[in-house]
Symmetry: C3
Subunit: 397 residues, 3 copies
């Protein structure tokens, strides 16, 4: 199993076997850097590879997590955060930026406000591309980081009951996590205000994968006792329609994790959160051994180390401890097909659709990227979606 030269745009790019392999390597990386236990750290040697962090919107936590991972691997980093006034401002396409930057580095990490942007970069770049968050679309390394936390706490990824708590409508994180947990043999319970309920398409997806439709409730009270994990997200009053704002504040108060809730919670239930947390987790519970959110964030480093190591082909068939990477000579990863060729393949393939169709999603990169022919794919469920942002072409019922 080799991930060398691959891109990671969404969790669908990885088989469950690959997910498990990545998490195994992450465990070895964690050990090598003395993660958690304040144990001994193995000295790393210089790695002659460069990561380019291309952040078209700032996200300090994610960016620093990637940069730390690359530096812990012994590599180097270059990049930008918020490209104000740079080539982007001069009207350069994202594809051109990605292709140019791919001449400066060995792996590219992109964060962008528009959905589908990561795929544009991956198609254009000649080096592996990792999606660090493309608008409301996907943020796969967040999901891998979440899984790593679960694995370390529970020593397994199947058979867990994870309560997704808070804003399940707008939360990109929980959409990806729910589906991935289903693939790995765990289940989720959706706990959200009605106005912020988990959208039907994700409930459909989970049911498709696991055979079971997730339970959905509007209060944690009835389900707390069953949970292995309470995965909290923030309920933002601004997300409610204007006329409902008054009631929204009261509802938001019901979606706070505090000492009182922890008192009633199972003694082995952990609390997770993608951070930053604002009001929804009271710091009074930070010293509770069940509060896992900081170790969750810190685990992002060995996870990203593992991912980068695999995509750069540093590990290949034999998984080694961090100390002794088996480097396969100095070969460059296999080049990705040029954008032109990718487009051709798409148009001629069975999943192509008429070039006259246009993505309906105004947050999709195809609305602003010049020279980008829309192209579409038929999803496993039969729906035709934009190949970039994965939003359906037809409006949902």
């Amino acid at each position: 199993m080799s991930l060398a030269g691959r891109d990671l745009i969404t969790m669908s790019d990885l088989s469950t076997e690959e997910i498990r392999a990545l998490l195994d390597t992450a465990g070895q990386m964690a050990e090598a850097i003395g993660f958690g236990d304040a144990g001994k750290r193995h000295a790393s040697e210089r790695l002659d590879r460069i990561m380019a962090t291309c952040f078209f919107e700032p996200s300090t936590r994610t960016r620093l997590s990637f940069e730390s991972a690359m530096l812990r691997l012994g590599g180097s980093v270059l990049g930008f955060s918020e490209p104000g006034g740079s080539s982007v401002a001069k009207g350069e396409t994202l594809a051109d930026t990605a292709r140019t930057v791919s001449g400066y580095a060995d792996i590219l990490v992109i964060r962008h406000p528009k959905m589908g942007a990561a795929k544009v970069a991956a198609d254009a770049a000649e080096i592996p591309v990792i999606n660090a968050g493309d608008g409301a679309h996907a943020h796969p390394t967040q999901t891998l980081t979440d899984l790593f936390c679960l694995k370390r706490r529970f020593d397994r990824l199947d058979g867990l009951t994870v309560g997704l708590f808070g804003d399940l409508k707008y939360g990109r994180t929980v959409h990806s996590l729910g589906a991935t947990l289903a693939r790995l043999g765990s289940q989720v319970v959706c706990i959200a205000p009605e106005q912020l309920a988990m959208p039907k398409r994700y409930l459909d997806e989970i049911e498709e994968i696991s055979g079971e439709r997730p339970q959905c409730v509007t209060s944690v009270d009835g389900v707390l006792g069953e949970l292995d994990v309470l995965y909290a997200t923030r309920v933002q009053v601004e997300r409610f329609p204007e006329e409902e704002r008054e009631g929204a504040r009261a509802i938001a108060a019901d979606f706070v994790v505090d000492a009182a809730l922890m008192e009633r919670a199972p003694e082995n239930m952990i609390v997770m959160h993608p951070l930053p947390r604002v009001e929804e987790i009271n710091p009074e519970i930070d010293d509770d051994s069940r509060a896992a959110y900081f170790e969750q964030a810190h685990g992002g480093v060995p996870v990203r180390m593992a991912l980068v190591a695999h995509l750069l082909g540093l590990l290949e068939d034999e998984r080694n401890a961090f100390r002794g990477f088996e480097r396969r000579g100095d070969e460059r990863p296999e080049a990705v097909a040029s954008p032109g060729r990718a487009r051709q393949e798409a148009e001629e393939g069975p999943d192509s659709a008429s070039a006259e169709r246009k993505c309906r999603n105004d947050r999709c990169i195809t609305w602003e990227e010049r020279f980008l022919a829309g192209f579409f794919q038929t999803m496993p469920c039969g729906e035709v979606c934009c190949a970039y942002c994965e939003e359906p072409l037809e409006e949902e019922d």
Copy 2:
């Protein structure tokens, strides 16, 4: 004497023995990097440690000085400068940011516009924290850098007469330098316009330490002949009350170091300045051998190298030349107590005060940081001050 795992928030965190040890190491670092003499540089080896520079307000000189120090040590750097749009904007507390970032690095350098911010970060982070300037409160590495310049020029730190010149009211730098010089056995003379005189509390502090109250004058003329050092700071016309602006310009002109003043100055008197200088030092004196401000700034690199090396426990009991650090295995520095525990200790300790008291200083971090209980400490002089910004609780007379 070991500084491993410690934080550096203010100069009060260091004993005079520790200050001298740091400056000795700085001397070795300077030699190792070929500082000053354009001598041979010893090749440094890779150091598997990461510095996180967390600059909540930009300060290019200070940040680059720290980054250079870490790179000269063979280490790596990650960080941010001006967190616009990042987690901070999303309402994350400084404590959470510090705790998260401390999972990405081995040492954290913080610059923040609010007084007391460095202590918040130090309490929350699990790695050593260095204050690179927290509002009007403290900037200890500036003081260490100033001392290093004095040491190199005079080969001693006691028995010197240092003229603090310019704005002594708002200048954070001169407050810290004055007290530290007193601790080391040197004296200061305060030369400032009345409106920008050294505040009473610092004169009290110096008198407390040395037994002598510093001489205060409004013109350099009467004291120039006694000075070993003229430490210049900028007189900003904007600092004067509105109605006094007209006269302010004339006063500012009296606080300029130029060729005429150097003509009258002792031949061994050096001129220092924390930089940037604007009008207050005329570049016509830059080539005078007594002009020390650029070498002063450059000395900040070996000083910061020494500090980082000590805090990371790279040197321990035996001080070595840069070439051969004695690394004590790969152990992590001792973890700092969790914020919860620190707060508990403070509230139960003899220095605690009622939680209803609130810091009066609106430039203190406690005014904006959520979940941060005010807590107070009784200073050596008997005054009760905020434990973060160190401003007195009661208004001064």
Copy 3:
């Protein structure tokens, strides 16, 4: 031939022998990093040198290209991009910033919006300075990068016919490229709308060098067949006088490189562009083997590696493959004369002029930099120009 300790401000700083030597080294660097052919990469070792990238205006492509070069050499990078709110905002002179930063690094790369800024930095800094673009003045590494692309494609730099296409009036890039090609024994053809024609002074310069005045046309049609290279630049409608905007759009359409034009072009004619391209090269030609602009941009890395290696004295007399640099001990490069001394030399030298003269160019650094005496030089053509921005003192006819 040694470039150790030198600065690179404009292409005039390099003899043709030095240009060729740099490009030879660039070829070795390219091979060492596995450029182009996806061949084997030689592992680089750690280089104990720091590059400071001082970008007073952001330019992501250029900055990342320099940073990649330094990291590929095994070195480190620190710096800033857009100094908002830093020392610059506090009124510090560029000279002071350059002098301070030169204590933090071994080589300084500056990008600045004002013409002549690179020279100010070079005079003040104590380390080699590379101009990464100073306003409309010069961007010599762009020219070297262009030449490297030509060398790789044609295996020579003389006897080529290069069509400069588009905006030749405001394009800094084509001004420098034209003159340098003439010095190397190649010729240019100027293809531009009348309103954006190559200015007389550059045509004069090329004629001075080569004995031939370049052909100037307003349409590519008549000359396409003679071209080895079509070097495209963007025609910006905003550059036309207001009253001509309507016609400008039609003119701009004639300066687009598309499949139709490529159909008519010679089969060995390559297309170059400094990037970013907006409308002027249609991506439909990206997969044409004659489209050289991305490999052109990528070649900037080995070119900058070569330049840095030479300026840092890493190569000296023997040019080695990247793998085995012959480092000349750990000596610092020779210090540049202090600004004071440089100014003195200028005023006493044969090229000096009365200090009362003032540069007429309001985009020149001398209009904003305090303490910078204007000084002037007589150019080879007899004209007296500002020594910083190189604009003539008298208005052109």
